[in-house]
Symmetry: C2
Subunit: 229 residues, 2 copies
Amino acid sequence: SIEVKNVSKIYGRGNTEIRAVDDVSLQVKSGEIVLIMGPSGSGKTTLLSMAGLLLRPTSGDIWVNGVQATNLTERQLPQLRLNSIGFVFQAYNLLASLTARENIEIVSNLAGIHASQARQRSEELLTLLGLETRMDHLPSDLSGGQKQRVAIARALANDPPLILADEPTGNLDSKTGYEVMELLCCGLGRDQGRSIVIVTHDHRLRNIADRVLWLEDGKLSDKVVPETI
Amino acid sequence: SIEVKNVSKIYGRGNTEIRAVDDVSLQVKSGEIVLIMGPSGSGKTTLLSMAGLLLRPTSGDIWVNGVQATNLTERQLPQLRLNSIGFVFQAYNLLASLTARENIEIVSNLAGIHASQARQRSEELLTLLGLETRMDHLPSDLSGGQKQRVAIARALANDPPLILADEPTGNLDSKTGYEVMELLCCGLGRDQGRSIVIVTHDHRLRNIADRVLWLEDGKLSDKVVPETI
Ligand SMILES: Nc1ncnc2c1ncn2[C@@H]1O[C@H](COP(=O)(O)OP(=O)(O)OP(=O)(O)O)[C@@H](O)[C@H]1O
Ligand SMILES: Nc1ncnc2c1ncn2[C@@H]1O[C@H](COP(=O)(O)OP(=O)(O)OP(=O)(O)O)[C@@H](O)[C@H]1O
Ligand SMILES: [Mg+2]
Ligand SMILES: [Mg+2]
């Protein structure tokens, strides 16, 4: 689960100050899937990064799995992140010198999972995502959508109780995007209470959401703007 | 205009050989907008990169604006690219140490355009793309969709006769994506005969296309698979 309370983020100072996230509060329970949609530049990545403990809020509080993260020191955050959060980055952030499977296994190793079990897990996930023939390739030899799927597999590696995904289908065709949606919402034992927050521009993902929220100019609301046709 | 004739691309050797593009032929006339859709990993970026003279085909020929590019030496290609092709990269490929406007002005400078005219052009394009408040920011301070729009502006900087865009709306919300479509298809004097090839997963772009092609396992056809609902 995740709770964000009166959280704001200001970048810059003085004339160049920008209030990217403005007094946002949000709660996602176990087993819930919440979508956050909104215009480009509205603060979605900034909000998700704070929820994922990758960025300090300017003000406000954050609880991850019941732990008040905003009260922890910088040194305590990595452990909480590793064990509780699977983050899918908008730009994937894969390690360039590791193969697809190694990019996934490394997060299992860091969490103390045995090498053979880590290997089995990475193979299972990559196969579910249609990448069984690309497992030993470096990111530079993968297509955009293949890298995106490796990033998704990595977030699922340690079966975390919280998944935060930043535009996970942006580079996927309709069919592959559908399979990813299926996996996130219904595959891999989600009935065990995992919370999922998906930032997306893809209106089709609304089919798997319990709730859809709208972020505009850093402010959250539930008045979702329908698709422009 | 662009013509691609019996073009193939093979990556790797022996066991790891992958035929990413398989005997593809394609012709796009002046004033035409052609979409290329297809599954993730099917060869779209590879095909577009060869059309954009960024990647040598393993076999086949390519004509850009009537010039047989496959007959030129490596040293002759940059000039042809600079003057004839505007390329929007799937991963944007912006220069990290230059601001949004500088990323656009540098391609104008390289083409011999005066600094003041280059500046006017970059401001016009960034404003049309909704980025007037972000012109002096570095890519690291921009959202994913803002970087994507800078990449689009850069491709349009020198008003080239050929635009090749690799998934130009993947990180844009519906309304912003619509404005980009409008710009590509109908803004900026397209009636002057510019050819546009757009690789995309976004079925809404079909509204502005003259033709839609389908690439699967490196092979091109016109049997387009409809959206999975
Ligand atoms: N440098 C490379 N070395 C080896 N294989 C590569 C290389 N670049 C791409 N490939 C492979 O070639 C195939 C086609 O890649 P390409 O990037 O053209 O796909 P795409 O259609 O653009 O996919 P997406 O929609 O995911 O962007 C993929 O299977 C990819 O893994
Ligand atoms: N490090 C930074 N310094 C200054 N401004 C920033 C920084 N990072 C982001 N911004 C600005 O904050 C605003 C929100 O950015 P954010 O990346 O959260 O948007 P977003 O909703 O994810 O957009 P997109 O849909 O395009 O990915 C944008 O206007 C962006 O330019
Ligand atoms: Mg973003
Ligand atoms: Mg691609």
